[in-house]
């Protein structure tokens, strides 16, 4: 009975997080300032790599159709892969977390993880953009170089915003989510 209650609670929480994340993701906002990777990472930390990956994948799938920037097209699978990686990183990070961790250090680490997630996500989606150029007849290597190089300014904004978002929000969010699931603290 207790396990069933926990599972239902987890499922409900997963659904609420997905709805919240989608609502924020579909709201018009400055390009490359987003909270989806943060939510995905948090889900990965709380529920594990598999759930985190699934969460990121499904959010980007819906976003691909409903985004305020229009239909994502060929880039959508790459966005899904990128966000899946963010969720998996959350799960991996949870496994590698020490028993006790200093709060400042946790914030610093998650800020760095946020930056690396943004970087990986941008590289993967830029490769998707590069495929557009390849389909247009451009040489493969040149297409990838152009896609990555010309996406650099968006990427820098993304890395910076993710660093800030992860550094500030991860700790209180994980704490709150852990409390909701009735888990013990591992911080401080």
């Amino acid at each position: 009975m207790k396990i069933h209650l926990l599972n239902t609670r987890k499922l409900a929480l997963f659904g609420i997080l997905a709805a919240l994340c989608l609502a924020i993701q579909l709201t018009p906002r400055p390009p490359n300032v987003e909270f989806t990777s943060f939510f995905t990472f948090a889900v990965g930390v709380i529920f594990g790599a598999l759930y985190g990956g699934f969460f990121g994948c499904i959010i980007m799938f819906v976003n691909g159709f409903l985004s305020p920037y229009g239909f994502a097209g060929l880039v959508m699978p790459f966005q899904m892969i990128g966000m899946t990686i963010a969720g998996v990183i959350g799960g991996v990070y949870r496994r590698l977390m020490p028993g006790q961790i200093d709060l400042a250090r946790f914030c610093t680490e998650t800020a760095i993880v946020g930056a690396i997630i943004a970087l990986i996500y941008d590289l993967v989606t830029n490769i998707g953009v590069g495929f557009w150029f390849v389909i247009g007849g451009m040489d493969f290597a040149l297409a990838m170089l152009i896609a990555i190089a010309y996406g650099v300014f968006f990427s820098i904004v993304h890395i910076f915003s993710n660093t800030v978002v992860f550094g500030i929000l991860t700790l209180p969010s994980i704490k709150a989510l852990n409390d909701l699931l009735g888990r013990g603290e591992r911080f401080g």
Partner: protein, 275 residues
């Protein structure tokens, strides 16, 4: 001793920084390559224009020199114009030889040249060429020569400059067809050339009319007509005066009006009456 976990995160942070900076460097490298290529192409285009300009000017100077000699003789009070008329014929041949491609390409100039040639033939057949006849031919020659030189110079410019113009055709029955910012014309094009490009026209060439010799008889099968000598319907052209913010009726024939970049032109089928 720094612990392994801290080292991993420092390495990750450095990795993010290094990849971002490398992408930034790649961006500036690509931009630099693109601009260098563009500058190279522009320079090549300018060199070609300069070379064509030199060629054109030397041709112009030679023809002008030939005309000047003939004009000098004509100006001399006791000239024998019957013997001079052959020199004018050679001048005409020389003009045709030097501007043959332009005369072939541009209908209005071609028409002007053949009208001049016909006039020349008529005068040539006369046993006694008068000073007035010779002077008139010489003037017509000079006008055409200058027009050809201007058009050819414009064509040289058009290798590097194209004009974006807007045009509309108002059929006078409420139907107005606009061609917005779609017409890219070579520099030096006349309204007549633009009209030919955007519509099917019939026209009449009037040698005695100046400046511009062309009157448009129909646009896209809509023909001009007169009820009697005092009223009718004709195709009239206008240009948009941006300062005055109004349409101004064309002051010259459409073949003499040179297009401006960003210019807005209108052909209107409209009623006229006289007086």
């Amino acid at each position: 001793m720094v612990e392994k976990r801290a080292l991993v995160f420092v390495t990750l942070a450095i990795l993010v920084w290094a990849i971002s900076i490398s992408s930034l460097a790649a961006y500036f490298y690509l931009q630099n390559m693109m601009y260098t290529k563009q500058i190279g192409e522009n320079q090549q285009s300018l060199n070609k224009t300069a070379s064509n300009y030199d060629e054109l000017m030397s041709k112009y100077n030679i023809l002008l020199g030939e005309y000047s000699i003939l004009y000098g003789i004509y100006s001399f009070p006791s000239g024998n114009f019957t013997s001079l008329i052959e020199s004018l014929g050679r001048l005409l041949d020389s003009l045709k030889g030097n501007y043959s491609s332009l005369l072939m390409d541009q209908e209005d100039l071609n028409e002007t040249y053949y009208t001049l040639e016909e006039d020349y033939e008529l005068v040539y057949k006369e046993s006694n060429v008068t000073r007035e006849d010779f002077g008139r031919l010489l003037n017509e020659y000079y006008d055409l020569f200058n027009l050809l030189a201007v058009r050819e110079l414009s064509l040289v410019l058009s290798q590097t400059v194209t004009l974006n113009v807007n045009a509309c055709i108002d059929y006078g029955n409420g139907t107005i067809n606009w061609r917005n910012e779609t017409e890219r014309m070579p520099a030096g094009s006349s309204l007549f050339q633009l009209t030919q490009k955007i519509s099917e026209i019939n026209y009449t060439y009037y040698p005695s009319m100046k400046p511009g010799h062309v009157l448009v008889d129909s646009v896209n099968d809509k023909k001009t007509y007169t009820v009697d000598y005092s009223e009718g319907w004709s195709w009239i052209w206008y240009y948009w005066d941006a300062e005055e913010q109004k349409w101004i009726s064309g002051p010259v024939g459409c073949d003499a009006w040179m297009l401006e970049n960003g210019g807005i032109y209108k052909w209107r089928f409209e009623h006229w009456s006289w007086p």
